[in-house]
Amino acid sequence: MNNILEIKGLKKSFYQLEAVGGVDFEVKEGEILGLIGPNGSGKTTLFDCVTGIQRPSGGDVFFMGKRITRMKPHNIYRLGVGRTFQLVQLFPGMTVLDNMVMAIQESEGTILSRLFQIDESKDVRRAIELLEFLNIIHLKNEVAKNLSYGQQKLLDLGMVLMSDPKLIMLDEPMAGVNATLGREICERLVELNDRGCSFLVIEHNMRMVMGLCHRIVVLDYGKKIAEGSPDEIQKNEQVMAAYFGG
Protein backbone atom coordinates (compact mmCIF):
# COMPACT_ATOMS: atom_id res chain seq x y z
CA MET A 1 0.00 0.00 0.00
CA ASN A 2 1.25 3.47 -0.86
CA ASN A 3 1.48 6.31 1.55
CA ILE A 4 -0.90 9.13 0.75
CA LEU A 5 0.54 11.47 3.38
CA GLU A 6 4.02 11.38 4.85
CA ILE A 7 5.09 13.61 7.69
CA LYS A 8 8.82 13.70 8.33
CA GLY A 9 10.36 15.42 11.35
CA LEU A 10 7.68 18.11 11.36
CA LYS A 11 8.42 20.95 13.77
CA LYS A 12 6.55 24.10 14.70
CA SER A 13 7.52 26.48 17.44
CA PHE A 14 6.04 29.76 18.57
CA TYR A 15 8.84 31.87 20.01
CA GLN A 16 10.59 29.47 22.36
CA LEU A 17 7.57 27.25 22.72
CA GLU A 18 7.66 24.05 20.72
CA ALA A 19 4.11 23.04 19.76
CA VAL A 20 5.17 20.24 17.44
CA GLY A 21 8.61 18.83 18.05
CA GLY A 22 9.72 16.64 15.20
CA VAL A 23 6.89 14.26 14.43
CA ASP A 24 7.06 11.41 11.89
CA PHE A 25 4.19 9.29 10.67
CA GLU A 26 2.33 8.46 7.50
CA VAL A 27 -1.22 7.85 6.36
CA LYS A 28 -1.57 4.90 4.02
CA GLU A 29 -3.90 4.95 1.07
CA GLY A 30 -7.41 3.91 2.06
CA GLU A 31 -6.63 4.11 5.76
CA ILE A 32 -8.41 5.85 8.60
CA LEU A 33 -5.67 7.09 10.89
CA GLY A 34 -6.59 8.47 14.31
CA LEU A 35 -4.51 11.23 15.86
CA ILE A 36 -5.03 11.47 19.60
CA GLY A 37 -3.38 13.10 22.56
CA PRO A 38 -4.18 15.32 25.52
CA ASN A 39 -5.19 18.95 25.00
CA GLY A 40 -2.29 21.10 23.88
CA SER A 41 -0.32 18.17 22.52
CA GLY A 42 -0.02 19.88 19.13
CA LYS A 43 -2.63 18.03 17.08
CA THR A 44 -4.35 21.06 15.60
CA THR A 45 -1.04 22.82 15.03
CA LEU A 46 0.06 19.75 13.09
CA PHE A 47 -3.11 19.98 10.97
CA ASP A 48 -2.43 23.67 10.36
CA CYS A 49 1.10 22.88 9.21
CA VAL A 50 -0.02 20.12 6.85
CA THR A 51 -2.75 22.26 5.27
CA GLY A 52 -0.48 25.28 4.91
CA ILE A 53 -2.21 27.65 7.32
CA GLN A 54 0.94 27.74 9.40
CA ARG A 55 4.49 27.53 8.23
CA PRO A 56 6.34 24.61 9.82
CA SER A 57 9.63 25.56 11.46
CA GLY A 58 11.22 22.37 10.24
CA GLY A 59 10.65 19.00 8.66
CA ASP A 60 8.72 18.04 5.56
CA VAL A 61 5.26 17.00 4.45
CA PHE A 62 4.64 14.89 1.35
CA PHE A 63 1.25 14.33 -0.24
CA MET A 64 1.12 11.46 -2.74
CA GLY A 65 4.87 11.69 -3.06
CA LYS A 66 4.82 15.45 -3.70
CA ARG A 67 6.49 17.80 -1.26
CA ILE A 68 3.85 20.22 0.00
CA THR A 69 5.82 21.83 2.81
CA ARG A 70 5.41 25.62 2.64
CA MET A 71 2.95 25.48 -0.23
CA LYS A 72 0.05 27.95 -0.08
CA PRO A 73 -3.14 26.55 1.52
CA HIS A 74 -5.21 26.99 -1.64
CA ASN A 75 -2.74 24.99 -3.69
CA ILE A 76 -2.63 22.19 -1.13
CA TYR A 77 -6.43 22.10 -1.21
CA ARG A 78 -6.43 21.85 -4.99
CA LEU A 79 -4.15 18.81 -4.78
CA GLY A 80 -6.88 16.98 -2.88
CA VAL A 81 -6.44 17.61 0.85
CA GLY A 82 -9.73 18.53 2.48
CA ARG A 83 -10.11 19.58 6.06
CA THR A 84 -12.70 20.44 8.70
CA PHE A 85 -12.11 22.58 11.73
CA GLN A 86 -12.42 22.14 15.47
CA LEU A 87 -14.41 25.36 15.59
CA VAL A 88 -16.59 25.21 12.51
CA GLN A 89 -15.35 27.54 9.77
CA LEU A 90 -18.01 28.51 7.25
CA PHE A 91 -18.95 31.55 5.22
CA PRO A 92 -21.59 32.66 7.69
CA GLY A 93 -23.33 35.26 5.51
CA MET A 94 -23.69 33.01 2.47
CA THR A 95 -26.38 30.41 1.80
CA VAL A 96 -25.75 26.73 2.42
CA LEU A 97 -25.74 26.09 -1.31
CA ASP A 98 -23.28 28.92 -1.95
CA ASN A 99 -21.05 27.56 0.80
CA MET A 100 -21.08 24.19 -0.94
CA VAL A 101 -20.46 25.53 -4.44
CA MET A 102 -17.72 27.80 -3.08
CA ALA A 103 -15.90 24.68 -1.92
CA ILE A 104 -15.41 23.46 -5.48
CA GLN A 105 -15.48 26.47 -7.76
CA GLU A 106 -11.76 27.21 -7.40
CA SER A 107 -10.65 23.66 -8.11
CA GLU A 108 -10.71 23.77 -11.88
CA GLY A 109 -9.91 26.16 -14.70
CA THR A 110 -8.07 29.46 -14.67
CA ILE A 111 -9.07 32.49 -12.68
CA LEU A 112 -10.26 34.24 -15.84
CA SER A 113 -12.48 31.32 -16.79
CA ARG A 114 -14.26 31.72 -13.48
CA LEU A 115 -15.43 35.17 -14.51
CA PHE A 116 -17.18 33.70 -17.54
CA GLN A 117 -18.37 30.39 -16.09
CA ILE A 118 -22.11 30.81 -16.28
CA ASP A 119 -23.29 27.25 -16.13
CA GLU A 120 -22.90 25.91 -12.62
CA SER A 121 -25.53 23.19 -12.89
CA LYS A 122 -22.97 20.42 -12.45
CA ASP A 123 -21.68 21.85 -9.17
CA VAL A 124 -25.15 22.65 -7.94
CA ARG A 125 -26.30 19.10 -8.69
CA ARG A 126 -23.37 17.69 -6.78
CA ALA A 127 -24.04 20.04 -3.87
CA ILE A 128 -27.66 18.95 -3.74
CA GLU A 129 -26.67 15.27 -3.81
CA LEU A 130 -24.31 15.80 -0.90
CA LEU A 131 -26.81 17.87 1.07
CA GLU A 132 -29.28 15.04 0.64
CA PHE A 133 -26.65 12.54 1.74
CA LEU A 134 -26.06 14.68 4.86
CA ASN A 135 -29.78 15.23 5.46
CA ILE A 136 -29.63 19.02 5.39
CA ILE A 137 -31.11 19.51 1.93
CA HIS A 138 -34.11 21.38 3.35
CA LEU A 139 -31.73 24.14 4.47
CA LYS A 140 -30.12 24.74 1.10
CA ASN A 141 -31.28 28.35 0.77
CA GLU A 142 -30.77 29.21 4.41
CA VAL A 143 -27.92 31.50 5.41
CA ALA A 144 -25.19 29.43 7.06
CA LYS A 145 -25.08 31.40 10.29
CA ASN A 146 -28.73 30.50 10.99
CA LEU A 147 -27.92 26.78 11.17
CA SER A 148 -27.66 24.91 14.45
CA TYR A 149 -24.20 23.80 15.56
CA GLY A 150 -24.71 20.23 14.45
CA GLN A 151 -26.02 21.36 11.06
CA GLN A 152 -23.03 23.67 10.65
CA LYS A 153 -20.77 20.75 11.42
CA LEU A 154 -22.45 18.71 8.68
CA LEU A 155 -22.17 21.59 6.25
CA ASP A 156 -18.47 21.87 7.07
CA LEU A 157 -18.12 18.17 6.26
CA GLY A 158 -20.22 18.59 3.14
CA MET A 159 -17.96 21.34 1.88
CA VAL A 160 -14.95 19.10 2.29
CA LEU A 161 -16.68 16.36 0.28
CA MET A 162 -17.57 18.70 -2.59
CA SER A 163 -14.16 18.57 -4.18
CA ASP A 164 -13.79 14.78 -3.76
CA PRO A 165 -10.55 14.99 -1.80
CA LYS A 166 -8.19 12.05 -1.66
CA LEU A 167 -7.34 12.78 1.95
CA ILE A 168 -9.80 14.17 4.46
CA MET A 169 -8.52 15.63 7.70
CA LEU A 170 -11.16 15.91 10.41
CA ASP A 171 -10.53 17.99 13.50
CA GLU A 172 -12.80 16.67 16.25
CA PRO A 173 -15.83 15.78 14.10
CA MET A 174 -17.71 14.50 17.17
CA ALA A 175 -17.22 17.49 19.47
CA GLY A 176 -20.54 19.16 20.27
CA VAL A 177 -22.47 16.64 18.19
CA ASN A 178 -25.21 14.52 19.78
CA ALA A 179 -24.91 10.74 19.79
CA THR A 180 -27.40 10.05 16.99
CA LEU A 181 -25.78 12.56 14.67
CA GLY A 182 -22.37 11.22 15.71
CA ARG A 183 -23.32 7.71 14.65
CA GLU A 184 -24.61 9.05 11.35
CA ILE A 185 -21.37 10.89 10.69
CA CYS A 186 -19.42 7.72 11.48
CA GLU A 187 -21.52 5.71 9.03
CA ARG A 188 -20.90 8.30 6.35
CA LEU A 189 -17.17 8.22 7.01
CA VAL A 190 -17.03 4.45 6.68
CA GLU A 191 -19.04 4.65 3.47
CA LEU A 192 -16.61 7.21 2.04
CA ASN A 193 -13.68 5.15 3.20
CA ASP A 194 -15.09 2.15 1.33
CA ARG A 195 -15.04 4.30 -1.80
CA GLY A 196 -11.30 4.78 -1.31
CA CYS A 197 -10.98 8.02 0.59
CA SER A 198 -8.25 8.20 3.25
CA PHE A 199 -8.76 9.91 6.59
CA LEU A 200 -6.70 11.57 9.28
CA VAL A 201 -8.92 12.16 12.30
CA ILE A 202 -8.34 14.09 15.51
CA GLU A 203 -10.87 12.95 18.09
CA HIS A 204 -11.33 12.82 21.83
CA ASN A 205 -14.25 10.43 21.74
CA MET A 206 -12.34 7.22 22.42
CA ARG A 207 -15.14 4.87 21.53
CA MET A 208 -15.33 6.41 18.08
CA VAL A 209 -11.57 6.43 17.62
CA MET A 210 -11.18 2.81 18.67
CA GLY A 211 -14.13 1.67 16.59
CA LEU A 212 -13.39 3.61 13.44
CA CYS A 213 -9.64 3.93 13.04
CA HIS A 214 -7.38 1.34 11.49
CA ARG A 215 -4.34 2.75 13.20
CA ILE A 216 -3.70 5.39 15.83
CA VAL A 217 -0.88 7.86 16.43
CA VAL A 218 -0.57 9.40 19.91
CA LEU A 219 0.96 12.82 20.48
CA ASP A 220 2.03 14.28 23.80
CA TYR A 221 3.80 17.63 24.22
CA GLY A 222 4.37 17.81 20.48
CA LYS A 223 6.07 14.39 20.27
CA LYS A 224 4.83 11.06 19.00
CA ILE A 225 4.72 8.72 21.96
CA ALA A 226 2.98 5.73 20.39
CA GLU A 227 1.69 4.33 17.13
CA GLY A 228 -0.25 1.18 16.40
CA SER A 229 -3.57 -0.57 16.11
CA PRO A 230 -6.38 0.43 18.50
CA ASP A 231 -5.71 -2.69 20.58
CA GLU A 232 -2.02 -1.94 20.91
CA ILE A 233 -2.71 1.66 21.89
CA GLN A 234 -5.19 0.64 24.56
CA LYS A 235 -2.55 -1.57 26.14
CA ASN A 236 0.24 1.02 25.90
CA GLU A 237 1.25 2.20 29.37
CA GLN A 238 2.89 5.40 28.18
CA VAL A 239 -0.36 6.44 26.51
CA MET A 240 -2.36 5.70 29.61
CA ALA A 241 0.09 7.74 31.66
CA ALA A 242 -0.19 10.69 29.30
CA TYR A 243 -3.96 10.60 29.46
CA PHE A 244 -4.61 9.75 33.05
CA GLY A 245 -1.80 11.64 34.74
CA GLY A 246 1.64 10.16 34.89
Binding site: H74, M94, L97, Q105, D119, A127
Partner: protein, 328 residues
Protein backbone atom coordinates in the same frame (compact mmCIF):
# COMPACT_ATOMS: atom_id res chain seq x y z
CA UNK B 1 -28.22 33.10 -15.36
CA UNK B 2 -29.17 29.50 -15.60
CA UNK B 3 -29.44 27.28 -12.60
CA UNK B 4 -28.75 29.96 -10.05
CA UNK B 5 -28.68 28.52 -6.62
CA UNK B 6 -31.26 30.87 -5.19
CA UNK B 7 -33.54 32.08 -7.93
CA UNK B 8 -34.61 35.66 -7.51
CA UNK B 9 -37.84 36.84 -8.98
CA UNK B 10 -37.08 38.19 -12.41
CA UNK B 11 -39.73 40.82 -11.74
CA UNK B 12 -37.59 42.25 -8.97
CA UNK B 13 -34.66 42.69 -11.31
CA UNK B 14 -36.76 44.19 -14.07
CA UNK B 15 -38.23 46.59 -11.55
CA UNK B 16 -34.77 47.79 -10.55
CA UNK B 17 -33.67 48.17 -14.14
CA UNK B 18 -36.90 49.99 -14.91
CA UNK B 19 -36.32 52.47 -12.12
CA UNK B 20 -32.65 52.86 -12.99
CA UNK B 21 -33.13 53.50 -16.72
CA UNK B 22 -36.32 55.45 -16.07
CA UNK B 23 -34.58 57.90 -13.78
CA UNK B 24 -31.68 58.28 -16.21
CA UNK B 25 -34.14 59.00 -19.01
CA UNK B 26 -36.44 61.29 -17.03
CA UNK B 27 -33.77 63.60 -15.65
CA UNK B 28 -33.01 65.33 -18.98
CA UNK B 29 -36.74 65.52 -19.79
CA UNK B 30 -37.53 67.24 -16.51
CA UNK B 31 -34.35 69.22 -15.85
CA UNK B 32 -32.98 69.41 -19.39
CA UNK B 33 -33.64 73.14 -19.54
CA UNK B 34 -31.52 73.84 -16.49
CA UNK B 35 -27.85 73.45 -17.24
CA UNK B 36 -26.86 73.52 -13.54
CA UNK B 37 -29.22 70.69 -12.62
CA UNK B 38 -27.81 68.63 -15.46
CA UNK B 39 -24.33 69.32 -14.13
CA UNK B 40 -25.31 68.11 -10.65
CA UNK B 41 -26.99 64.99 -12.08
CA UNK B 42 -23.84 64.21 -14.05
CA UNK B 43 -21.68 64.76 -10.99
CA UNK B 44 -23.83 62.29 -9.06
CA UNK B 45 -23.38 59.77 -11.86
CA UNK B 46 -19.62 60.16 -11.61
CA UNK B 47 -19.69 59.59 -7.87
CA UNK B 48 -21.94 56.55 -8.20
CA UNK B 49 -19.24 54.98 -10.37
CA UNK B 50 -16.62 55.68 -7.70
CA UNK B 51 -18.71 54.33 -4.85
CA UNK B 52 -19.60 51.24 -6.89
CA UNK B 53 -15.88 50.48 -7.12
CA UNK B 54 -15.40 51.17 -3.42
CA UNK B 55 -18.32 48.86 -2.66
CA UNK B 56 -16.51 46.01 -4.42
CA UNK B 57 -13.35 46.55 -2.38
CA UNK B 58 -14.92 47.23 1.01
CA UNK B 59 -18.53 46.07 0.84
CA UNK B 60 -18.06 42.80 -0.98
CA UNK B 61 -14.46 41.81 -0.33
CA UNK B 62 -14.08 43.39 3.10
CA UNK B 63 -10.76 45.09 2.36
CA UNK B 64 -10.70 48.63 3.67
CA UNK B 65 -9.43 51.28 1.27
CA UNK B 66 -8.86 54.89 2.24
CA UNK B 67 -7.11 55.71 -1.00
CA UNK B 68 -10.06 55.92 -3.34
CA UNK B 69 -9.87 59.69 -3.84
CA UNK B 70 -6.30 59.18 -4.98
CA UNK B 71 -7.35 56.63 -7.61
CA UNK B 72 -9.92 59.12 -8.80
CA UNK B 73 -7.22 61.78 -8.91
CA UNK B 74 -4.98 59.53 -11.00
CA UNK B 75 -7.76 59.07 -13.56
CA UNK B 76 -8.67 62.76 -13.56
CA UNK B 77 -5.11 64.02 -13.97
CA UNK B 78 -4.32 61.49 -16.69
CA UNK B 79 -7.32 62.58 -18.74
CA UNK B 80 -6.74 66.27 -18.03
CA UNK B 81 -3.05 66.25 -18.94
CA UNK B 82 -3.53 64.15 -22.07
CA UNK B 83 -6.52 66.02 -23.49
CA UNK B 84 -4.86 69.36 -22.72
CA UNK B 85 -1.91 68.15 -24.77
CA UNK B 86 -4.10 67.27 -27.71
CA UNK B 87 -4.60 63.56 -27.22
CA UNK B 88 -8.05 62.07 -27.64
CA UNK B 89 -10.28 61.60 -24.62
CA UNK B 90 -11.03 58.12 -25.88
CA UNK B 91 -7.39 57.25 -25.56
CA UNK B 92 -6.90 59.12 -22.29
CA UNK B 93 -9.79 57.57 -20.38
CA UNK B 94 -8.76 53.93 -20.81
CA UNK B 95 -5.20 54.92 -19.95
CA UNK B 96 -6.38 56.74 -16.82
CA UNK B 97 -8.42 53.70 -15.80
CA UNK B 98 -5.42 51.43 -16.46
CA UNK B 99 -3.11 53.62 -14.38
CA UNK B 100 -5.62 53.48 -11.52
CA UNK B 101 -5.93 49.71 -12.05
CA UNK B 102 -2.17 49.22 -11.80
CA UNK B 103 -1.98 51.52 -8.78
CA UNK B 104 -4.72 49.41 -7.22
CA UNK B 105 -2.72 46.26 -7.91
CA UNK B 106 0.35 47.77 -6.27
CA UNK B 107 -1.67 49.00 -3.31
CA UNK B 108 -3.34 45.62 -3.06
CA UNK B 109 0.01 43.97 -2.39
CA UNK B 110 0.23 45.09 1.24
CA UNK B 111 -3.34 43.84 1.64
CA UNK B 112 -1.92 40.34 1.43
CA UNK B 113 0.45 40.86 4.27
CA UNK B 114 -1.52 43.12 6.52
CA UNK B 115 -5.12 43.48 7.55
CA UNK B 116 -7.49 45.92 9.15
CA UNK B 117 -5.83 48.97 10.59
CA UNK B 118 -2.51 48.43 8.86
CA UNK B 119 -4.31 48.24 5.57
CA UNK B 120 -6.27 51.37 6.42
CA UNK B 121 -2.98 53.05 7.18
CA UNK B 122 -1.20 51.91 4.03
CA UNK B 123 -4.05 53.05 1.80
CA UNK B 124 -4.28 56.31 3.72
CA UNK B 125 -0.55 56.80 3.24
CA UNK B 126 -0.97 56.18 -0.47
CA UNK B 127 -3.74 58.79 -0.61
CA UNK B 128 -1.46 61.26 1.14
CA UNK B 129 1.46 60.57 -1.20
CA UNK B 130 -0.67 61.13 -4.31
CA UNK B 131 -2.13 64.30 -2.82
CA UNK B 132 1.35 65.62 -1.98
CA UNK B 133 2.52 64.79 -5.47
CA UNK B 134 -0.44 66.54 -7.12
CA UNK B 135 -0.01 69.62 -4.93
CA UNK B 136 3.76 70.00 -5.12
CA UNK B 137 4.87 68.91 -8.57
CA UNK B 138 3.90 72.21 -10.19
CA UNK B 139 5.64 71.48 -13.44
CA UNK B 140 3.55 68.42 -14.12
CA UNK B 141 0.27 68.97 -12.31
CA UNK B 142 0.12 72.73 -12.00
CA UNK B 143 0.14 72.43 -8.22
CA UNK B 144 -2.60 74.26 -6.38
CA UNK B 145 -3.35 76.51 -9.36
CA UNK B 146 -4.76 73.38 -10.97
CA UNK B 147 -5.35 72.58 -14.62
CA UNK B 148 -7.92 74.86 -16.30
CA UNK B 149 -9.59 74.52 -19.68
CA UNK B 150 -9.96 70.76 -19.88
CA UNK B 151 -11.87 70.11 -23.13
CA UNK B 152 -14.96 67.94 -23.31
CA UNK B 153 -14.78 65.11 -25.79
CA UNK B 154 -16.84 64.34 -28.85
CA UNK B 155 -18.34 60.96 -29.65
CA UNK B 156 -18.14 59.87 -33.31
CA UNK B 157 -18.39 63.46 -34.39
CA UNK B 158 -21.14 64.35 -31.92
CA UNK B 159 -20.04 67.30 -29.82
CA UNK B 160 -20.50 66.57 -26.11
CA UNK B 161 -19.59 69.99 -24.77
CA UNK B 162 -23.05 70.95 -23.53
CA UNK B 163 -23.99 69.80 -20.03
CA UNK B 164 -26.90 67.76 -21.35
CA UNK B 165 -24.78 65.97 -23.94
CA UNK B 166 -22.09 65.23 -21.41
CA UNK B 167 -24.78 63.90 -19.09
CA UNK B 168 -25.63 61.25 -21.64
CA UNK B 169 -21.98 60.27 -21.96
CA UNK B 170 -21.70 59.75 -18.20
CA UNK B 171 -25.06 57.95 -18.11
CA UNK B 172 -23.79 55.62 -20.83
CA UNK B 173 -20.68 54.83 -18.84
CA UNK B 174 -22.76 54.34 -15.73
CA UNK B 175 -25.02 51.78 -17.42
CA UNK B 176 -22.11 49.86 -18.94
CA UNK B 177 -20.13 49.85 -15.70
CA UNK B 178 -23.22 48.78 -13.75
CA UNK B 179 -23.71 45.80 -16.05
CA UNK B 180 -20.03 44.89 -15.75
CA UNK B 181 -20.13 45.11 -11.97
CA UNK B 182 -23.28 42.99 -11.79
CA UNK B 183 -21.61 40.46 -14.02
CA UNK B 184 -18.52 40.33 -11.82
CA UNK B 185 -20.54 40.03 -8.63
CA UNK B 186 -22.80 37.31 -9.99
CA UNK B 187 -19.91 35.32 -11.40
CA UNK B 188 -17.65 33.00 -9.44
CA UNK B 189 -15.46 36.00 -8.74
CA UNK B 190 -18.26 37.61 -6.80
CA UNK B 191 -18.69 34.49 -4.71
CA UNK B 192 -14.96 34.31 -4.04
CA UNK B 193 -14.86 37.99 -3.03
CA UNK B 194 -17.67 37.42 -0.56
CA UNK B 195 -16.01 34.29 0.75
CA UNK B 196 -12.88 36.33 1.52
CA UNK B 197 -15.00 38.88 3.34
CA UNK B 198 -16.88 36.23 5.28
CA UNK B 199 -13.90 34.10 6.31
CA UNK B 200 -10.62 34.58 4.50
CA UNK B 201 -8.86 31.68 6.22
CA UNK B 202 -11.55 29.23 5.15
CA UNK B 203 -11.63 30.78 1.68
CA UNK B 204 -7.98 29.92 1.33
CA UNK B 205 -8.78 26.43 2.55
CA UNK B 206 -11.27 25.87 -0.27
CA UNK B 207 -8.77 26.85 -2.92
CA UNK B 208 -9.26 30.61 -3.17
CA UNK B 209 -6.05 32.35 -4.09
CA UNK B 210 -6.09 35.30 -1.72
CA UNK B 211 -3.30 36.87 -3.76
CA UNK B 212 -5.25 36.96 -6.99
CA UNK B 213 -8.64 37.92 -5.59
CA UNK B 214 -7.54 40.58 -3.14
CA UNK B 215 -5.45 42.22 -5.83
CA UNK B 216 -8.39 42.04 -8.23
CA UNK B 217 -10.76 43.56 -5.68
CA UNK B 218 -8.42 46.47 -5.15
CA UNK B 219 -7.56 46.94 -8.80
CA UNK B 220 -11.12 46.77 -10.13
CA UNK B 221 -12.32 49.13 -7.40
CA UNK B 222 -9.50 51.47 -8.30
CA UNK B 223 -10.21 51.27 -12.03
CA UNK B 224 -13.83 52.31 -11.40
CA UNK B 225 -12.58 55.31 -9.45
CA UNK B 226 -10.12 55.99 -12.28
CA UNK B 227 -12.90 56.06 -14.87
CA UNK B 228 -14.95 58.30 -12.58
CA UNK B 229 -11.99 60.66 -12.25
CA UNK B 230 -11.49 60.62 -16.00
CA UNK B 231 -15.11 61.72 -16.44
CA UNK B 232 -14.89 64.26 -13.62
CA UNK B 233 -12.07 66.22 -15.28
CA UNK B 234 -13.93 67.15 -18.49
CA UNK B 235 -17.15 67.58 -16.52
CA UNK B 236 -15.66 70.24 -14.24
CA UNK B 237 -13.32 71.51 -17.01
CA UNK B 238 -10.91 72.39 -14.22
CA UNK B 239 -9.23 70.23 -11.61
CA UNK B 240 -6.89 70.91 -8.73
CA UNK B 241 -5.56 68.72 -5.91
CA UNK B 242 -8.22 69.90 -3.46
CA UNK B 243 -10.73 67.67 -5.27
CA UNK B 244 -8.78 64.56 -4.18
CA UNK B 245 -7.59 64.94 -0.60
CA UNK B 246 -7.57 62.06 1.86
CA UNK B 247 -10.74 63.44 3.43
CA UNK B 248 -12.54 62.86 0.18
CA UNK B 249 -11.91 59.14 0.61
CA UNK B 250 -13.48 59.30 4.06
CA UNK B 251 -16.42 61.02 2.48
CA UNK B 252 -16.79 58.19 -0.06
CA UNK B 253 -16.82 55.77 2.84
CA UNK B 254 -19.65 57.70 4.46
CA UNK B 255 -21.64 57.62 1.20
CA UNK B 256 -21.18 53.87 1.03
CA UNK B 257 -22.20 53.24 4.64
CA UNK B 258 -25.29 55.43 4.38
CA UNK B 259 -26.31 53.75 1.14
CA UNK B 260 -25.55 50.23 2.30
CA UNK B 261 -22.13 48.61 2.21
CA UNK B 262 -22.12 45.20 0.51
CA UNK B 263 -25.48 45.90 -1.14
CA UNK B 264 -25.53 46.61 -4.83
CA UNK B 265 -28.03 49.45 -4.55
CA UNK B 266 -25.92 50.89 -1.73
CA UNK B 267 -23.56 52.79 -4.00
CA UNK B 268 -26.45 54.36 -5.90
CA UNK B 269 -28.54 55.32 -2.90
CA UNK B 270 -25.54 56.58 -0.93
CA UNK B 271 -24.15 58.81 -3.65
CA UNK B 272 -27.56 60.21 -4.55
CA UNK B 273 -28.67 60.94 -0.98
CA UNK B 274 -25.39 62.38 0.20
CA UNK B 275 -24.87 64.55 -2.87
CA UNK B 276 -28.44 65.63 -3.44
CA UNK B 277 -29.43 66.80 0.03
CA UNK B 278 -26.93 69.67 0.14
CA UNK B 279 -28.41 70.93 -3.12
CA UNK B 280 -31.79 71.33 -1.46
CA UNK B 281 -30.44 72.89 1.69
CA UNK B 282 -27.91 75.31 0.35
CA UNK B 283 -25.96 77.51 2.72
CA UNK B 284 -24.05 76.06 5.60
CA UNK B 285 -22.06 73.31 3.97
CA UNK B 286 -20.37 72.31 7.21
CA UNK B 287 -23.72 71.47 8.70
CA UNK B 288 -24.20 68.61 6.22
CA UNK B 289 -20.92 67.15 7.27
CA UNK B 290 -22.14 67.23 10.86
CA UNK B 291 -25.48 65.71 9.93
CA UNK B 292 -24.08 63.03 7.64
CA UNK B 293 -21.34 61.93 9.99
CA UNK B 294 -23.92 61.68 12.77
CA UNK B 295 -26.24 59.68 10.48
CA UNK B 296 -23.33 57.40 9.58
CA UNK B 297 -22.72 56.62 13.23
CA UNK B 298 -26.40 55.93 13.84
CA UNK B 299 -26.58 53.67 10.78
CA UNK B 300 -23.43 51.79 11.77
CA UNK B 301 -24.76 51.12 15.23
CA UNK B 302 -28.42 50.45 14.60
CA UNK B 303 -28.76 49.65 10.95
CA UNK B 304 -25.67 48.10 9.37
CA UNK B 305 -27.36 47.46 6.03
CA UNK B 306 -27.79 51.18 5.37
CA UNK B 307 -30.65 52.70 3.42
CA UNK B 308 -30.56 49.78 0.97
CA UNK B 309 -31.73 47.63 3.88
CA UNK B 310 -35.03 49.51 3.94
CA UNK B 311 -36.51 47.18 1.36
CA UNK B 312 -35.52 44.20 3.55
CA UNK B 313 -37.62 45.57 6.36
CA UNK B 314 -40.54 45.92 3.95
CA UNK B 315 -40.15 42.35 2.74
CA UNK B 316 -39.78 40.81 6.19
CA UNK B 317 -42.46 42.79 7.99
CA UNK B 318 -45.05 43.29 5.29
CA UNK B 319 -44.63 40.39 2.89
CA UNK B 320 -43.25 37.94 5.49
CA UNK B 321 -40.66 36.51 3.17
CA UNK B 322 -36.92 36.71 2.59
CA UNK B 323 -35.92 39.80 0.68
CA UNK B 324 -34.48 39.18 -2.80
CA UNK B 325 -31.10 40.71 -3.53
CA UNK B 326 -29.58 42.01 -6.71
CA UNK B 327 -26.41 40.04 -6.24
CA UNK B 328 -26.00 36.58 -4.90
Amino acid sequence: MANRSNNKPIVWRLLHWGIFLGVIGLIPIIFGGNSYYMYVATLIGVYIITIMGLNLTIGYTGQISLGHAAFMGLGAYTVALMTLNGYSFWLALPLGASIAFVAGLILGLPALRVKHHYLALVTLGFGTVIYLFLSNEHEITGGFSGLPGIPRPSFFGINLSSNIAFYFLVAGFLVVLTIMMLWILNSRWGRAFKAIRENDMRAEMVGVSLLAYKLLAFAIGAAYAGVAGGLLAPLMKFIDPTAFPVHESFWFLIMLIIGGSGRFEGAFIGAIVVMLLPQFLRGAQQLYFVVFSAITLVILIFWPTGLAGLSDVFFRRVLKRNPPQLTK
